[in-house]
């Protein structure tokens, strides 16, 4: 065996071990490295009240309500499998609206309502001009169809 081949095998073996280690570490991190909890994670794993977490999902349409004090808003966050009620007092980002993504920082109270201290708008992977707004988007084919 030539020295060149020996080095190649050694380098490839090291590379395989490295990628394996990286993937193992990444899969072990899977939950810990998540930036936020989805409502379904909250339901299945449970988050203790008072623990500082982030909650991410879509704002349910027609769930956004403004309280009498004018600065507190209530809305429901869903990931399609579970829905969690949330409240927030303060100024929401411009992109925060019903039917779009949100990441809220805060904690759950004893009744299971998420009390947010900060709101971030989550943008999805769709980019389109204004003329196409309101059209239906097919996730698997990436096609736009006019709403009927």
């Amino acid at each position: 065996m030539k020295a060149k081949h020996q080095r190649l095998i050694l380098a490839l073996a090291a590379l395989v071990a490295l990628v394996g280690a990286g993937l193992l570490a990444a899969s072990a991190l899977k939950d810990e490295a998540a930036y936020f909890y989805a409502p379904n994670d909250v339901r299945t794993k449970g988050v203790e009240p008072g623990k500082a977490v982030r909650l991410g999902g879509m704002v349910v349409k027609n769930s956004l309500k403004r309280a009498a004090d004018g600065v507190t808003i209530r809305f429901d966050v869903t990931d399609g499998k579970a829905t969690v009620p949330a409240t927030f007092s303060g100024i929401a980002p411009d992109l925060f609206k019903e039917g779009s993504g949100v990441v809220a920082e805060g904690s759950f109270d004893a009744k299971g309502t998420f009390v947010a201290t900060n709101l971030l708008a989550k943008h999805d992977e769709r980019y389109m001009p204004r003329e196409l707004e309101g059209m239906n988007y097919n996730e698997s084919t990436h096609e736009m169809k006019a709403e009927r």
Partner: protein
């Protein structure tokens, strides 16, 4: 590949190729940027800030592509002992770090109006920042161990560092899929693009333009390193008398 091990033969091709990459790259980049700024429509949700995409995406691609280049060069250096691979690794590091920094900065500028924050420690942003630090480490290690290196390239230790650091590349790529992240998922996949065609086409121009420019910068830096070698060799000969 060993045909190009001879610097003279490499330079004969690299010298004209630099211009052939640089000028079309610059032209495509300017054309793409102008179209992205003035021709394409604004996004339905993000408005005008969507235009940062034409810089941000090529910068991200070259930041990651640069390290992939470093890893390939490292493999060629360690296994085949290709004399130009070490030089290529050193040449790629600085522009790679630059584009990674551009990616982080443009992303931050975009994040403020879109998400409502300059910076968040989510998987995509953190792994990209790690890539930037890897570049700095690679450059520092390459400079610190320059004496063990041959021909103005990087040392073998630095090459091993470059190879090990490549593990971060698939992590950056998959970070938005593996973990819940604030950064959106991939828009352009093998199945198609969720960026509407009317917004997408200048991205092709800037992507190609930046890539050609990156190639030109790497060739220029390789030529500069090889020229420096020649100077040093001549000085040593003069010193010996």
């Amino acid at each position: 590949m060993h045909r190009f091990a001879n610097p003279a033969r490499f330079l004969k091709i690299a010298r004209p190729l630099t211009g052939w990459l640089f000028w079309p790259g610059l032209l495509l980049l300017l054309a793409g940027s102008a179209c992205g700024l003035f021709v394409t429509p604004a996004d339905y949700l993000q408005g005008q800030t969507v235009r940062i995409l034409y810089i941000h995406v090529p910068a991200a691609w070259l930041g990651m592509g640069g390290w992939s280049g470093i890893a390939i060069a490292a493999l060629m250096q360690l296994v085949w002992k290709h004399p130009l691979a070490a030089v290529a690794g050193r040449a790629i590091a600085a522009p790679g770090a630059l584009f990674t920094a551009i990616c982080l900065m443009t992303g931050s500028i975009w994040g403020r109006p879109t998400w409502g924050t300059w910076w968040e420690w989510d998987g995509r942003m953190t792994s990209m920042l790690v890539l930037f630090f890897l570049y700095l480490g690679y450059i520092a290690l390459g400079n610190a161990s320059a004496r063990q290196a041959q021909q103005g390239g990087v040392s073998n230790v630095t090459a091993i560092f470059g190879l090990v650091g490549a593990i971060n590349i698939p992590i950056i790529n998959r970070s938005v899929v593996w973990w819940n992240s604030l950064h959106q998922g991939p828009s352009i996949t093998l199945r198609g693009s969720s960026i509407d065609g009317s917004l997408l086409w200048p991205l092709g121009l800037t992507l190609l333009g930046f890539t050609l420019l990156f190639g030109a910068i790497v060739l220029m830096r390789m030529r500069a390193i090889l020229a420096q070698n020649k100077v040093e060799a001549r000085m040593q000969r003069l010193a010996r008398g």
